[in-house]
Each structure stands twice: as C-alpha cells, then as structure tokens.
C-alpha cells in the first residue's frame, strides 16, 4: 500500500468531561469518523475522515464536540498554500479531476459588500412598513412597450376603459425571491418536497433543476419551474405542461461551459425513473445542448417549447455569468426568451470540477449591471425580466440586486443552509449527514419535510420583512420604484472602473 500524503483537514476535539459515551455521534456520521471501542468503553474519533459537516457536534446532547481545523502547519509560503499543496497530493494519488461541491470559496471581491443603500430624511419621509402598505409583488415575463385602450362608455364602471393589448404569460411572485434550480438527484426527495411546499405557501416558485419532476410533486405544478437542460433528463410533454414556466439551462454559474454531473452512486431506482436513465449510471449532461450551436438554434428551441405548451407559459433561459454576458443576453431576448436568468461565479452545485468552479465565470453583480444597461440601451429591457443567482446571502443582497436592475433573485445555497447544510462541500460523495445531498435511504430520513418547509418559509418571510424595512427607509412603497434605481446605491472601496461598470456613484457623492 502506497503512503498517502493526505493528513486530516479537521479535528474532532472531544471534551471527555462532557462526553457521556451515548454514541449518537457514532450513529450520525456517515463518514465513519466516530467508533465505540468496546474494550475501553469509549468513543474515539478518526480525524482523517472528518469533513467538517458538524452533524455530530450539533446532535451531541452535551455539546461535548468541537470541530476545528487540523493545525498541521506548513512553512509559510504565499505562493504554495496549504490547499494548493493538498490538491497536488490528491491528484498524484488519484490521477483524476478534482471534484468539489457548492459554490466558489475563493477570495474574489464580493461587490454586495461594497455597495451601500440610501435612506430618506427630512425632504422625503421614510415609510414605516409596519403601519403603511409596502408592496413587493413582482411579475416576471415579456411586457409590451405600451398598452392600448378603448373607451367603454359605461358611467357605472370605476374604470371607463377596456384594455385592448393582450399580455404574454407572466409569473406572479409575492416577493422577489425564488428557489433556484437544484436537481432531484443532487438533493433528496424530501428537500424537493419542502421546496415545493414552501414555494406554494409563500406564493413564489421553485425550480426542478435538470433532474426531472418526481410524479408525486406534480400537484405543486403551479409553483414549479421545470428545467430543460442539455441532458434533457425527464423532459416529456406532461412535464412541460404541468409547470408554471420552463427554463432552458444553457449553463450555470458554478461550472460555466460544462454540463451537470450526478455520480452513479446517487442514481437510485426513483432517480432512474424520474430522469429516465438506467439505475446506477453516471448522469453526465453534455456540455452544450447538442441542438443549440448558435443563437438561432436557441430561438428554435424556445419556440418549440412555446408551441408544445400553446404559448401559455413564459420561457426562461439561464446562462452563467461570463465575459460577454451582455451580448449573449441581448441575443437571448431577441431569440424570444421571456425571462433571462444569470448565474454568477459564486453559484453552488452538487458536483463540479474544482478548477472550473473556482476559475470560470464572473461575479453576478458585474454581469447584472452590464446586462441591464445593455438591454436598456438597446431599448429591449421590457421584453424580458432579469433574475439573478449566485451567492445571494441575505435580504440586503436582494435589495442591492434589484437596485442594480434585477427583477428578482434565485437562491439555492441559502435555502439549503436553512435546511441544515453546513457547506462542507462533500455533496458529490452522496454521504450528506444532513440528509440533503444524498440518496441513501438511511440519511434521507434526516430531513423531515415539514420542518424543512417551515424553515424555508421562515427564511423567506424574514427576508421579505427586512426588504420592506429597507424600502421604507428609502421612502419607497412599491418595489418597481427600486428596480434599476442605481441612484439609491453608493460604492465604497471600489475603483473608478468598478464604479463605472456597476453604474453607481462613490459614497460621499450626492446626486
């Protein structure tokens, strides 16, 4: 057996005075870190296996466990960091592509944290959201440039006009937040159910991702966005027609340029039925859609889907945020997309090659600013709504996103954290101790869909209240007055170029 250079990443610090040898940690760790030694009558831990998911520490009834970084120190080397060296050790052992999960964790700038919001004082009163109406309702879809009316000549009517223009189908959201695409397969059925239930309660939508739609979730169709990705998993006529909208996934922020990846270990019988693939096979989506090699092919697919659903549902096209997002978005709108979804470099995933996740794509803030500006310059901004994704962490990020120009945001990592995810980045192993990113029947039970639904509803509800507070502080009582209102943002610690790209003024400058 060859020597492995890999040493533990985390250590389990057990407070022996508190440990009651109850073995809960032993039972709860799918990675086999803890074992009960019968002779010594003690629980012992193998640090090498620990991934830092905190399951044992959270469930321990006496809080006897602390998970901390394993303090193996290298000589300081700014260039050859610990993680860089470790990756080389791994690859020399495996000979393979390094896999990881969730979103890019590298130290690239986070522009949300460099943008500040305005508040109204004296000359313009701020509004108290607890006492005054504060409207967050949002409609996503293609809007006409103007409306046409005819006079009704009915003095009894409140409104004496008849609307002549027919509107394209729209998605109606009670708050500008939706659950982003997470495929059934990358996450467990119970989490999908919780997302669907929460979307229904909140009056928003959730996205099936490229895993198809489980038959038991068809009843949530009115709150479902179904995805048509490059692998076309689970795509058939009922799937398309039960949904409220259809999303063509060209790319995702976590891995621009490549397709989805579901390891064979996670393809159980139910997954196999839903995705329409053999059990146990790897589900690797092709990099491009093999019927979309240029923009006119995209237009063909968009209209094929519109025909298949009799033009009753908006079509979303999702791309990763890359260098020429603005041009691509403009093309997409002209190709017939009703909603553009942009996914930034911080977007999460169930499995992706580490190098792609960490090095490909751009931050969503910059992509959003340039897409919104370009569509406005071309006079086509009204033809599609913009939804952004990729590391939206709290309600302030949502408000800033809308001020930059987004119509709504998609969240996924935040939603999973609400359900229990601790971002250990081991989803690709299928051994999620929280029961989220796994198909193991023993582990899946750990997500009680009722509890998860409640947590998701709480999260979105809390964010909506905070958004209302921030809007009220700015003297705005309807979210459409914040959309694209970059004058209510100021940049702090940004270079001139970044300020220009984002279209915001530096903090300290008045209007």
């Amino acid at each position: 057996m060859k020597l492995s250079f890999l040493y533990p990443e985390f250590q389990v610090i057990r407070d022996e005075s508190k440990c009651i040898q109850c073995e809960v940690c032993v039972r709860q760790c799918a990675f086999g870190v803890h074992t009960y030694d019968k002779d010594e009558k003690k629980v012992t831990s193998d640090n090498l296996k620990c991934v830092g998911c905190h399951r044992c520490a959270t469930l321990c009834p006496t809080q006897a466990l602390i998970i901390s970084r394993y303090p193996q120190d290298f000589r300081e080397n700014y260039n050859w960091r610990k993680d860089v060296i470790r990756d080389i050790f791994k690859q020399s052992e495996s000979g393979g592509v390094l896999l990881t999960s969730m979103g890019c964790d590298k130290e690239y700038p986070i522009y949300w944290d460099k943008l500040l919001l305005d508040a109204s004082q004296v000359t313009n009163p701020s509004i108290d959201p607890l006492r005054e109406p504060m409207e967050l309702r949002t409609y996503l879809g293609n809007k006409p440039e103007k409306l046409e009316f005819s006079v009704k000549n009915n003095s009894q009517a409140t409104v004496n006009y008849k609307l002549l223009t027919k509107l394209s189908p729209q998605l109606e959201l009670e708050t500008p937040i939706m659950f982003s695409a997470m495929s059934y397969g990358s996450i467990s059925y119970n989490v999908c159910l919780a997302l669907a239930q929460a979307a229904k309660i909140l009056g928003i939508y959730y996205n099936t991702g490229e895993g198809g739609l489980h038959k038991d979730l068809y009843k949530f169709g009115k709150n479902t966005i179904v995805q048509v990705a490059s692998g076309r998993f689970g795509v058939h006529s009922d799937y398309l027609n039960v949904a409220a909208a259809i999303e063509i996934k060209i790319g995702q922020g976590a891995k621009p340029g490549i397709g989805g990846h579901l390891p064979g270990e996670k393809v159980s019988k139910e997954i196999s039925e839903t995705r329409m693939i053999p059990e146990g096979t790897d589900a690797i989506s092709p990099a491009p859609h093999h019927d979309i090699y240029s923009i006119e092919d995209l237009s063909q697919l968009i209209f094929a889907l519109k025909e298949a659903t009799c033009y009753t549902k908006p079509i979303i096209v999702k791309i990763a945020a890359v260098h020429n997002s603005a041009s691509i978005a403009s093309g997409m709108v002209r190709a017939g997309a009703d909603i553009i979804a942009l996914d930034g470099v911080r977007g999460g995933t169930g499995a992706a090659p580490t190098r792609i996740r960490d090095n490909v794509g751009i931050p969503i803030e910059l992509a959003l600013a340039s897409v919104d500006e370009r569509l406005r310059k071309e006079g086509i901004r009204h033809r599609a709504s913009i939804v952004i994704a990729g590391g939206i962490r709290n309600s302030a990020d949502v408000v800033k996103a809308i001020a930059l120009g987004a119509d709504a945001v998609y969240i996924a990592t935040s939603a999973l954290i609400a359900c229990g995810c601790h971002l250990c980045q081991k989803c690709y192993t299928g051994k999620c101790n929280w029961g989220i990113a796994t198909q193991d029947p023993y582990l899946m039970k750990r997500i009680n869909p009722d509890i998860a639904t409640e947590r998701l509803v709480n999260l979105i509800h809390a964010w909506s209240l905070e958004i209302k507070e921030m809007l009220g502080g700015m003297g705005i009582n309807a979210i459409e007055s914040l959309r694209g209102n970059r004058l209510r943002l100021r940049g702090i610690g940004l270079t001139d170029t970044e300020l220009k790209l984002l279209g915001v003024k530096p903090a300290g400058e008045s209007l």
């Binding site: 109204s120 003297g475 007055s481």
Partner: protein, 360 residues
C-alpha cells in the same frame, strides 16, 4: 448653461387657474394665489406659465431662452435659423427688481419649422422635431437653455420669490386662459435660473411639490425612450413621463395617472375581473413610471390642467370650482384669496387626478 447644482429636492407651493371657456384671466390673479402662500417658499425659486398669452403668434413655436452671454445667443440663433424660420425675436420685457440681481439674458423667439427640414425628418412629427432641438440646445450648447417651447404659451421663471419674479417679468401685463405658478423651497443654494419651476416642454408645463424616491428608476426608463434628463430635477422626469404616456403612447389621461400613481395590489384584488386585469397590466407594463415618494403636481397643457398626488398623498393639494373657473392650489388659502366663495372646493384623493378641460 452652467449646471453646477446637485439634485435639489423641494418643499414648495403650487397653484393653477383654468378658464374652461377659454376666457382670459389676468396675470395678477395667479400672482395673488401664489403670493399668499409665501411661507412655503424660501426665495430661491419662483415661476409662472401661461397659455393664450401670445394671440398674435399663436401658430408659431415660441421658445423662451436663457443665455449666459451674447455669444451663446448668437450661436443658438445660428442653429435655429438652420432648422426654423424665425418669425419674430425679442428680449422678454422685464422690470428692475432690487432683490433680483444676477440674471441671464432672457429672449423669446417665434419659430416656424423650415419646410425643407421638415421633409428631411420623414416620420418625425412637429413635436418630435421641436423636442429634439430643445434637447440639443440644452445638452450641447454652452450657455444656452430653452425654458419653454410651446405654441401660444410661455414659462417665466428665475431665482427669487414668486411675487418678485412676477414683478420682474411683468406678469401683470399678460392675460391667459390657463396659468400655473410655483414657489420653491430647495435645501441647497442654487444659482441657476433654469432649475426653477415650472418645467416646460412643447405645450406642457409642470409644477411640482415633492421629492420622488423613484427618480433613478424613472430616469433610466425615460432614457430608454430617448429622453435626455439633464436638470437633475424631479419636474423634468415627471414632465417627460407625461409626454411619453400622453403624447407618444396616446394613453387617456386617467390611464396615465393610474400608471403614475397606481392603486395598491390589495385594492386591485378587490375589483371585478376585467378591471383587475386592466389595472394589473398597467402596473406590470408601466411599473418604472410609478412616481414614488411625496408629490403633488400640476400639469398644464393646451387644453386644460391636471392636478395629481402621489399614491399615499404625502403633500397637499386642493381643487376648487366656480362658474367656468377651475382652481388648483397647495393650500386652500390660495383659492380663497381670489375666490372667497367657490361653488365647490375639495381635496382630491391620493392617486386620483383632478382635471379641468376646455369645453368649447
């Protein structure tokens, strides 16, 4: 023009009188209305707009212009000669008023669109041509500013209390079938006459009391239709919204007001199906035109006058009627000052327009 000032929010006074039978109203009436509300201004801006004041040149486009100096006037006149026929040009007659010292050159030009130029512009209407000229002069010509650009109407404004501005421009010499007026209370010190209200474009003029928190959104929306907002004032944005909705999109007045000051979703949900869909559609399509933030405004146009509040009425506006006259004012005292016993006097509801129109 030297544009030095940042965005100046307003707490102000607004007033308007319309004779619905197109009878003439003496200038002193509007002066009285706005003067009695003196406390609402702070002397840093005042202005008037009148319709029907140039009966002898009623078919010509009348540009009121500010010039920093003679050089900019000549430059502008050269440009105007190119696109228009200048029927008449003169300095606007003024009186010397002690408190008004720094003032630009103030001229008025009566113009007809040069026929040759008109054919060059294919599908552009006369209004579009005039609007393009106005935007061009305001944006590109150093030291020149178009104050108003309508037919048989004009805007008179500057830095000073409204009563002083009235004295300066000899408003009492004029008669109009429609007057609107404004007194300003900005919180910065402007030096620039162009920033005062009313804001005029084509046959529209607007006076506004308020500060719109949706300014950034409205501005970007308008820029998408080719409007260039250069003044950093809310009035400019609001007037362009009216121009867009009423003139370019041909929306009826009530619909345009529903877009600018829409009902709440709760209220819309309680309406019958047809009306619900109509109001939803308006909010969906014209969401970026919504005026958020405290606002009461008076829009004057060739055929009438419209008063409107923001959707939760955070600024005052009173309307009144007597015989053929329709009044709008920030405060009731403005109306009662010239009409002690109106037939009807009321406070329009939030988001509901009060409209007076010529009945001929």
């Amino acid at each position: 023009m030297n544009r030095i000032e940042p965005h100046i929010p307003g707490g102000c006074s607004v007033a308007g009188i319309l004779n619905e039978k197109k009878g003439f109203i003496k200038g002193e009436q509007i002066i009285k209305m706005i003067t009695v509300m003196h406390e609402r201004s702070n002397g840093l801006g005042g202005g008037f707009a009148g319709w029907g004041i140039y009966p002898d040149n009623k078919d010509d486009w009348c540009f009121h212009l500010f010039f920093d100096n003679e050089k900019s006037r000549e430059f502008t006149e050269e440009y105007l000669k190119h696109d228009y026929e200048i029927m008449k040009k003169e300095e606007i007659p003024t009186r010397k008023v002690k408190v008004i010292d720094k003032r630009p050159l103030i001229w008025r030009y009566f113009l007809r669109i040069n026929r040759e130029k008109k054919n060059e512009f294919y599908e552009l209407t006369e209004e579009d041509i005039v609007m393009n000229s106005v935007m061009k002069i305001n944006e590109e010509f150093e030291g020149a500013f178009v104050v108003s650009s309508g037919k048989n109407m004009g805007v008179f404004k500057g830095v000073g209390y409204p009563e002083d501005i009235a004295e300066f421009y000899r408003i009492d010499d004029y008669q109009a079938y429609l007057w609107i007026a404004h007194g300003r209370f900005p919180t910065n010190t402007p030096g620039w006459w162009g920033g005062a209200h009313p804001f005029g474009l084509l046959n529209w003029a607007l006076v506004h009391n308020g500060e719109i928190s949706s300014y950034g959104t409205n501005k970007r929306y308008l820029e998408g239709f080719g409007y260039r907002l250069m003044l950093q004032t809310d009035s400019e944005a609001i007037l362009y919204l009216f121009d867009l909705l009423l003139r370019k999109h041909n929306l009826p007045f009530e619909i345009a007001c529903m877009a600018l000051a829409p009902l709440l979703w709760d209220e819309i949900e309680r309406m019958n199906e047809e009306e619900k869909q109509l109001l939803k559609a308006i909010r969906m399509v014209y969401g970026s035109a919504l005026i958020n933030g405290p606002s009461s405004l008076i829009l004057g146009y060739k055929n009438g006058m419209l008063g409107l509040n923001d959707r939760i009425k955070l600024r005052p506006l009173i309307a009144g009627r007597k015989d053929d006259l329709f009044y709008l004012s920030s405060e009731e005292c403005g109306i009662r000052e010239i009409c002690p016993e109106p037939d009807k006097i009321w406070a329009p509801k939030a988001g509901e327009p009060a409209i007076g129109e010529l009945k001929l």
